[in-house]
């Protein structure tokens, strides 16, 4: 329950901080931190335009997309306090429930009959497919390391002590940030600020969404970032008292937002046709973590 509330609060500010960082890095003052939320509220009040090609799939997809993200949020723990749902192998549920949202956002893009949106849908399906193994192997390594299989138990038992474990934590953070970037279609994979439909991934998929539905999709995006931020926070937190943990949570979220902003400011997007290779390479980083875990457990002896 605690993680749910905190994640929602973090989500309120996250995208604002990212945008602010980007503005400052490029020498502008930039909009206020709350601007993304204001945008969403404005969208919620607006009427919608629907394509005459589209069917009911297009109308229900944004709702299911947001619901899947909220559902995924429920299994994310906060330190030693469990998420609303906690069971063994809940990270599988986490990944697969997000996949339902992806499924619907893809078919809703295809529903408009636009070739631009088809292009985006195809890319999104391909990239998220390749990102998944990295996450599963990462969680598998932690399960191996701690001997537990649920998010909360894994994170509670994860102690950072030796040098190898520092390296592992750094690598895991890298993998999680990258997975978050892929899931949110952000910079090295996709440029949300690009002006050309041909080079977009996520933005082009929602070209035809408007009004309330667009608001739902944007809300989903904000929440997704905060969820991955919460996961990264959980990597380091172990079992610390709440009075330290809660401020630390926001610091981690803030840092992650700044990092995302900096990545977006100082990196160019990868070439579209090399994206898939790059994402598969993430899996090898995960494998590195896995072998690190094997080293720590002395399985090589």
């Amino acid at each position: 329950m605690l993680s749910l509330v905190l994640t929602v609060i973090a989500a309120l500010f996250f995208t604002g901080i990212v945008i602010r960082t980007k503005s400052l890095a490029s020498g502008r003052k930039g909009p206020g931190i709350m601007q993304p939320i204001k945008d969403v509220i404005r969208l919620f009040k607006k009427g919608a335009v629907y394509s005459k090609t589209s069917s009911f799939v297009f109308q229900i997809a944004p709702t299911i997309y947001l619901a899947s993200i909220v559902m995924a949020m429920l299994v994310v723990p906060f330190g030693q306090s469990k998420g609303l749902l906690s069971f063994s192998c809940d990270f599988i549920f986490f990944a697969y429930v997000l996949a339902l949202g992806k499924f619907f956002s893809i078919i809703s893009a295809m529903d408009t009959g636009s070739s631009f949106e088809g292009m985006g849908a195809s890319r999104e399906a391909l990239y998220s497919m390749f990102a998944e193994p990295a996450f599963f192997i990462l969680m598998g390594s932690f399960a191996l390391l701690t001997g537990y299989t649920s998010f909360q138990e894994i994170f509670a038992a994860l102690h950072i002590g030796s040098y190898i474990s520092y390296a592992l934590a750094v690598l895991a953070t890298f993998v999680l940030i990258m997975v978050a970037m892929i899931e949110n279609s952000r910079m090295p994979i996709d440029d949300p600020k690009t002006h050309l439909e041909l080079t977009m991934v996520h933005e082009v998929m929602i070209l035809d969404n408007s009004g309330f539905d667009l608001g739902l999709i944007l809300t989903g995006g904000y929440l997704k970032f905060a969820i991955y931020g919460a996961l990264i926070f959980n990597l380091f937190i172990g079992i610390i008292d709440y009075q330290y943990a809660i401020p630390l949570f926001f610091i981690v979220q803030f840092l992650m937002a700044v990092i995302v902003g900096l990545i977006e400011s100082f990196m160019a997007r990868f070439r579209m046709n090399h994206n898939a290779q790059f994402i598969v390479a993430l899996t090898s980083v995960s494998l590195l973590i896995f072998f690190g875990a094997l080293l720590m457990l002395g399985k090589f002896n």
Binding site: V49, T63, Y96, G211, F212, A276, L294, K299
Partner: protein
């Protein structure tokens, strides 16, 4: 093409074979004797052949049917070798003698005997590389048969493998690793080829191979659990495999039946010609969507439950495994995740190209929704898909008895799912129910919030281009293009191209035919070599009547003469032996 029900004389044969098929499938599960098993297996193979070639006026159907017939007899050959082997050693065809024989021998004998049976049953089930009949037979068969074929007939192969695992006492660990490896490869290969198919039924057929792979992974994990004495892993593996067998039968037959309705309405299965059907047949589209989500293993439907149990098995096994098993586990997890992702890729493609967007070609006839009684069975299946997703515990409990057969505990004292390993299953059910409720709540909020807002209908945004045609939509091939470029080493796509040339260019063309690399090297090449070898003997059969009569006379004379010269022949053979 005539409607099926107007072909009277075809129909009676079809239904007779259908009944025979049904009866033989049921009896196969009860038979405990090798000879009887083989006879009924043969009846099943033949009646399945007859029901497949219902549209026998098409050459492609007959070709696919004969392909199936030959391959199922290769399967019978291997089964026969297995049963006769045991019968020679023990003098009995009884199933129990397999157990007693393998118990008395070393584990090597058991493994060889198992491989004999495994190849026989794997041909039926469609494991790699014995799958090549499947993508031909499924599209050739009428749709209700494709559904049953994919849902039930290939599962009899899985049944056979499980039955033999119960009988053959051998080194389960190595058998388990073998099955696990072949299953991961089957799963990946099946779904990889599914993505590039243009024929909707062929696409589904390749997905059957993928799902057989997932089931096989469960069996493999179960065997390894048995071999290492890890009850939890064994339970999870076999339970996942059995539940996925049921689940696959449900969602795959639903997909095939929905495809059948599409075929009946449009008379084509080429997905590049379809599109926009959701407006003409919304209910069929919704049913197809449910099955598509279920087959991708996504909650809240049944596919997720069984895949979750298999994942659970993998991660439980990981908790106390050595180095080599760990590498196998990571390989399997990687495979299973990728299978899920590729299935999502494939079914978003299939669903959206067939049902969404604008129609890609115009049809001369009216396209309308199927009548209620044709949709009713589909609703029943969809209901079970949802029920297994929401109340998995009910169905998992039903697995207690079959699973305890494998794990070898007496069921009254052993409750396989209560040692902490599968408590999660019902939680998933609640989570899925909560998920549906959450969607409903959000949808209600959206409904209330947008009540007063007006929505307008406009054309799709085309970046200012004002005359879009349905032709510029993304097609299935363009959707899969970046994928097929990435995997071009594994996939085999034959291209026919007629490029634009000259000052006044004529019509250009571009065709692609997806093909199967394994089929090319394992089936087509050997057959070609065999044919060219037989060409050497063509002079014997040159079509002249006189020569044929001469062969006949030589045959008759030799038949008459052999008894006359019997003693001489015996002497000659004795003489040869002395040399």
């Amino acid at each position: 093409m005539n409607a099926y029900k107007e072909q009277r004389n075809n129909l009676s044969l079809h239904w007779i074979s259908f009944m025979l098929l049904h009866t033989s499938l049921i009896s196969l599960c009860g038979i405990q004797n090798g000879i009887v098993f083989l006879i009924v297996w043969e009846i099943m193979a033949l009646s399945a052949f007859l029901v497949v070639i219902f549209e026998h006026e098409k050459t492609s159907t007959i070709k696919a049917g004969i392909n199936y017939l030959i391959q199922s007899h290769v399967s019978i050959l291997f089964l026969m070798i297995g049963f006769i082997w045991v019968a020679i050693k023990t003098g009995s065809f009884d199933f129990q003698s397999i157990a007693t024989y393998t118990q008395s021998q070393g584990s090597a004998t058991g493994i060889f005997l198992f491989f004999c049976f495994f190849i026989g049953f794997a041909i039926k089930a469609g494991f790699l590389p014995f799958h090549t009949w499947l993508p031909h037979a499924h599209p050739a068969a009428p749709t209700h048969i494709s559904g049953i074929m994919s849902g039930v007939i290939i599962k009899i192969g899985i049944f056979g493998i499980l039955r033999m695992l119960l009988l053959i006492k051998t080194d389960y660990t190595s058998v388990g690793y073998f099955i696990l490896f072949i299953s991961v490869v089957s799963g990946l290969y099946g779904v990889m080829l599914a993505i590039i198919q243009h024929n909707l039924k062929k696409l589904l057929a390749y997905h059957s191979i993928e799902n057989i792979g997932i089931i096989g992974m469960g069996i493999g994990i179960g065997c390894i659990g048995l071999g290492s004495g890890n009850q939890i892993v064994a339970t999870l593996g076999f339970a996942g495999a059995l539940l996925h067998t049921l689940n696959h039968a449900l969602f795959k037959s639903l997909l095939f039946y929905a495809t059948g309705i599409v075929y009946q309405a449009t008379h084509t299965l080429n997905i590049e010609h379809l599109g926009g059907l959701i407006k003409k047949m919304p209910q069929t589209a919704m049913l197809f969507l449910i099955a598509a989500i279920a087959i991708c293993g996504i909650p809240p439907f049944n596919g997720f439950v069984s895949e979750f149990i298999i994942y659970n098995g993998l991660y439980q096994w990981m908790l106390n495994a050595g180095l080599v098993p760990l590498v196998a586990i990571i390989f399997s997890v990687f495979g299973l995740v990728l299978i899920g992702g590729l299935a999502l890729f494939c079914f978003t493609k299939a669903f959206s190209v067939v049902f969404l967007g604008e129609p890609r070609s115009s049809f001369n006839h009216e396209i309308s929704e199927a009548p209620f009684f044709q949709r009713l069975p589909l609703y029943v299946i969809a209901f079970f898909i949802l029920i297994i997703g929401l109340f998995p515990k009910l169905f998992v409990n039903m697995l207690t008895q079959p699973v305890s057969l494998f794990t070898g505990k007496i069921e009254s004292t052993f409750i396989p799912f209560q040692d902490g390993s599968l408590d999660a299953v019902q939680t998933i059910g609640w989570a899925s129910a909560g998920f549906i409720a959450l969607i409903a709540v959000l949808f209600a909020i959206r409904k209330i919030a947008t009540r007063k807002q007006e929505s307008t209908i406009a054309p799709t945004w085309g970046c200012g281009y004002v005359a879009p045609t349905p032709k510029i939509q993304y097609t299935a091939s363009s959707y899969a293009r970046s994928y097929s470029k990435l995997f071009s080493n594994i996939l085999l796509i034959e291209k026919e191209e007629k490029t634009v040339t000259g000052i006044f260019p004529s019509k250009a063309e571009f065709k692609t035919h997806p093909y199967d690399r394994i089929e090319k090297w394992l089936i087509d090449k050997p057959i070609k070599l065999y044919k060219s070898f037989l060409n050497w003997f063509l002079f014997l059969n040159n079509g002249k009547l006189q020569i044929s009569i001469l062969y006949g006379i030589i045959f008759i004379i030799s038949v008459i003469c052999i008894p006359l010269f019997y003693n001489e022949i015996v002497l000659f053979i004795e003489f040869l032996k002395q040399l």
